[in-house]
Symmetry: C2
Subunit: 317 residues, 2 copies
């Protein structure tokens, strides 16, 4: 067991994750980055990290694989990981399902006007029955059709929503109409409720702005466009979201991610009582799933099989 | 057109429904009960009603079919409709879907702890990320497997919940484990979150009481049993619900129906901030669907075909 090659855990990946836990489940030495010294850096082949501090990669002399704690690697890419070292994203069935649960919940919050009912309840008020739209009358558009997006799109379709999908390059999804880069305006024009599950890249930075929101269908069954972001905060322009909520370009939003996290207590977003904010909790990775993923990929790598879920450097995710 | 036989609309079926609207869409004379006189009662064959006042049926001398405004007919049955006159329930695909939307939304409110996040948001507080259970880790039990219940059960399963169903007599649902009267305790014992969609009958009056809640699984992924009622208020014992919420026998509830409606402003139920109350709005019938249903059944009846969705008098629904 001790002869197996060690894994280094970066700091800042979550207080509840101890090296001992990983060592036990991965059956190999696991050291915290803070505890490692020159002799460890000289031979450690594996690093698990999330948003590494500048210079992290310079310490390693024998790094072979970088494991990302999340599916998104924008935080990792900012520290310029060496080009020749493969980066494995954490694509976990648990996280895929958790994200779909969050997306479906948010879509239903808007469909069923959760904040209105909660407000009546808080006021001990028996509100008026409303003729509410059905899921089938609401056109949801999912942006990003990777593991998370395609699974969420299928779930939304199974719940009865009228779903379409968008991705930069064309993807096929059974029973779901899809669009690519060239069809973006058409896709937005048919969409009442847009769900962002895109990675953060040069192309998606600041993508969700006034121009984008203005292209959504203003005449849908919910009475105005809805924006839901479970992807990356820096893809959204919060000043535009706030202005569009005020002038009605957007009816409401659900945001799990923000330009800066945690969201500053003075952000005007907190002041809207008919929107839904969650603290980057849509799909919190679980130690059990992470251990399963690491174990599987390490086993593949050490037995000569190709690694999975590799980041493509040129597209940035 | 005027030669077609008239439909009488009972009062109290909703202010937005005018006789003119129905007359236009059903292409036959439609009169309000209040506006009818002896000559009308002497020949009117059809009545659309919801909770008729005592004596309503005595006025009619030539009644042939009673149409219920809802799928549930307990309010109608209390006025003792004549035994020989068929009663047609309003079973509408729209209402079936609306109820499934409400059920799925409530299940996700509990799964994703909506009230906790709303509370943090109201306090401008960036809450802790929680490791939340996935839908697949939560065992939902649907009681009542008629049109509404079987559709909702399939939707919940499509969303990933671990679903079982219960009905008085055994029903088969593809891919969903079902139980009948004899399996009630086993069904409740495996259930973390129970969804009531039962009609109100002598057997279901007061069914959801402390004894019932005590049989639910206390060790589920949500940390305690959840009760969701989209069926009938008189099936629940609200004093027991309140006591069980206080002592932890129930972790939370979602209620759309109540023993007395509207729910009295002094009800202690308003005082729980981690439960979900909606004002009997889970599946509000729509005029368009009602007209489609009435039109179809009148056409069947007048062309000699059997009526559908008939109430069975001996079972009461």
């Amino acid at each position: 067991m001790i002869s197996k090659r060690p894994l280094i855990l970066d700091t800042d990946i979550g207080a509840d994750r101890s090296p001992e836990y990983f060592a036990e489940h991965l059956e190999r030495p696991v050291l915290s980055l803070n505890d490692a010294d020159e002799t460890v850096f000289a031979r450690a082949p594996y690093l698990l990290t999330w948003r590494p501090r500048p210079g992290t990669f310079d310490k390693f002399q024998a790094l072979e694989v970088i494991f990302s704690l999340g599916a998104g690697v924008d935080g990792l890419m900012r520290t310029d990981p060496p080009q020749h070292i493969p980066i494995v994203r954490f694509v976990d069935p648990d996280m895929t399902q958790l994200m779909a649960d969050w997306v479906c919940h948010q879509c239903l919050n808007h469909l069923r006007d959760q904040s209105q009912y909660a407000s009546w309840q808080a006021d001990r008020h028996w509100g008026n029955k409303q003729q509410q739209p059905m899921a089938s009358e609401v056109r949801v558009g999912v942006m990003g059709l990777g593991e998370l997006g395609s699974f969420a799109a299928r779930r939304l379709a199974a719940m009865g929503f009228d779903v379409a999908g968008w991705s930069r390059s064309m993807k096929q999804l059974d029973g779901i109409k899809t669009y690519d880069q060239n069809g973006l305006d058409t896709f937005l024009g048919r969409t009442d409720m847009v769900v962002g599950l895109l990675p953060l890249t040069a192309q998606t930075q600041g993508l969700y702005d006034r121009s984008f929101f203005s292209k959504l269908n203003p005449d849908g069954a919910l009475g105005g466009p809805i924006f839901i972001n479970g992807g990356r905060g820096k893809s959204q322009v919060e000043a535009d979201i706030i202005a569009c909520l005020k002038d009605g370009t957007l009816k409401s939003v659900s945001l799990d991610v923000f330009e800066e996290e945690p969201l500053h207590e003075n952000s005007p977003l907190w002041g809207f009582d008919h929107i839904y904010l969650t603290p980057h909790s849509s799909a919190v990775s679980r130690d059990s799933g992470l251990v399963r993923h690491l174990s599987e990929q390490l086993q593949r790598y050490e037995s000569g099989l190709p690694l999975q879920h590799l980041v493509e450097r040129d597209r940035g995710y």
